[in-house]
Amino acid sequence: MSDAVPLTTDRPGQVASVTPPARGRSRRLSDRKLAVAFIAPALLLLLAMSVFPLLWALYLSFTDYSATRGGSGSFVWFENYTAVLTSAQVHLRAVTTLIYVVGAVVLQTVLGFSIAYLISRRTHGRGLLTTLFLIPMMLSPVVVGLFWRFMLDAQFGVVNSMLGSLGLEQVEWLTRQRMALASLIMVDTWQWTPFIMLIALAGLTAVPKYLYEAASIDRASEWFRFRTITLPLVWPLLLIAVLFRAIEAFRLFDLVYILTSGGPGVSTETLSFHVYKVAFLGFNTGTASAYGILMVLVVIVLTQLYLRYLNKLKED
């Protein structure tokens, strides 16, 4: 395990080494058939269930089709797109989503890494600790949302009850504009800090011991060791973890649906939640499709840029 922590994403060496040498034409051919027979069913299902719907959505996004009104799906070309891009309502949700994504991911990363670091410095009880810390991540968002809603209830919730016993003021967790968004970030952080922790821990335990020993001979300060040995080795992994969390956070729907249903007002409505309203309250299928396609584009473009940055980081 001293070979740092490879990401399969770019691990050409290993893939190449297990590819069998070509042994004449007939063998290659049968291999090819086998490969097609093995891969085709999976790809077909993905084409039918992911690509085809997406293409359909793309088509609908150029029309004013409505799933219930059954009206003519007449072409409006880019009108849905311009409407979405210029809508103040959409901008509002984009800002909310951005605050949420950045807030949640930063908090989770800091907390998750800290916990991982603390755990990695323990000799005893690490297995138990890690397992316990992971529980929130395994719960369904429905369960998490419902239960936090119960606990954060200003009147009957246990959180305010505890604050009360400490002589503190009750907090309106879910019904004040800023606080509600903060609560959403907090609950998401509660659930997903273990994710970052788990991955950071994987990186931390993979740091070869001899590096620390060498450093300790040099009498390097602890901060210096952390900065020059630990962090560089864990950093790429953390970045991958952050990417995963950011994408997930960007898609967030269920927690909003259950915890605040977008309130107060629309101050915790994320983009996903807004798409849902456009799609299922007014059944403006065309607009919702354009909205969704734009969201997918944002994910793809940002992910590509991020991955490029990651690869560059690796090369340096």
Binding site: P6, T9, V18, L54, L60, S120, V143, Y212, G292, M295
Partner: protein
């Protein structure tokens, strides 16, 4: 057969690994105590909601709303757990039907994803294919689409073929949802089994397919099991597709059924808590079983150790 997959995949951080740094220099006892205290505080904060959920599930409804909250001095009742399974009017409760539906949908979609994913993963690992990296990236990217967006065209598509509000509809979407993960994860396991085994077997006269079946597949079994468990957890917890693609009691899975417990005229939080506990238990048990593969599992196989 010297190498087993279990050894090929290093143990997760969860168990028996030597610590990287044994507090060489610096630190000292005071700091160690501080660190332990900090960890304890964090653990309490992270686990308190879970404990509170369990406590609520065994409280009587009158105590559930008590202010200040009752932490210890309440009457224990198991009535909520009975209500999860048994209808107050006798017979099976709607929740227990939902749990069975979840078992069916999550189970079948996992089996399907595995059946489709394992051969594909093996082929991707073993063969030089055109634009393999692109194909693999494409496969993974289908997993990153916002479900709320996907659900619109899926809904229209299902409407045409009559799959709305059917278990099959959910099974198909969950299979497609889990397939990218399955392929990536299992490809990682296949990569770790040297191709030379199959080459050697083929020199002995086996066809490639036989070599795969007889020599590689058995080595993959633990990895496949772990992957399947993760797929099971994903489909078990899934909510967005479930709420938009199903509506009737006979088809509804547990997450929307549990969500449906609130928003009536009175919320039976004890029942919500009890059903949440019952719903979460299998996931926790399964997650514990695959603890070695958690890192790969939660990153769709993108990060391995």
């Amino acid at each position: 057969m010297a190498v087993s997959v279990n050894e090929a995949v290093p143990a997760s951080p969860v168990r028996d690994r030597t610590p990287p740094a044994r507090r060489i220099g610096g630190g000292g006892r005071g700091r160690s105590v501080l660190e332990i205290a900090l960890l304890t505080v964090l653990a309490v904060v992270m686990l308190f909601p879970v404990l509170w959920m369990i406590e609520t599930s065994i409280k009587e409804n009158r105590d559930v709303y008590a202010v200040p909250a009752k932490f210890v001095d309440f009457q224990v009742t198991l009535a909520h757990y009975r209500d999860v399974f048994v209808d107050p009017g006798g017979g099976r409760s709607a929740l227990s039907v939902a749990f069975l539906n979840s078992v069916l949908v999550a189970g079948v979609s996992t089996v399907l994803a595995t059946l489709l994913g394992v051969p594909a993963a093996w082929a991707y690992s073993r063969f030089a294919l055109k634009a393999k990296k692109d194909q693999l990236f494409f496969i993974l990217s289908t997993r990153f689409m916002p479900p709320v967006v996907v659900v619109i065209p899926i809904f229209l598509m299902y409407r045409q073929v009559g799959l709305i509000d059917t278990p099959l509809g959910l099974i198909l979407i969950y299979t497609a949802f889990n397939l990218p993960f399955t392929i990536w994860m299992i490809k990682g396991f296949v990569d770790e089994v040297p191709a030379e085994y199959e080459d050697a077997a083929m020199l002995d006269g086996y066809t490639r397919l036989q070599a795969f079946r007889k020599f590689t597949l058995p080595l993959l079994v633990p990895g496949i099991a772990a992957t399947a468990v993760f797929a099971l957890i994903f489909s078990w917890n899934e909510f967005v597709f479930a709420i938009f693609l199903t509506s009737s009691d006979d088809v509804r899975t547990a997450p929307p059924a549990i969500a449906g417990l609130i928003g009536g005229t009175t919320v039976d939080w004890g029942l919500v808590a009890a059903s949440s506990v019952v719903f979460a238990l299998p996931v926790l048990v399964f997650a514990y079983l695959v603890r070695r593969h958690l890192v790969a599992g939660v990153t769709l196989g993108a990060v391995r150790r």
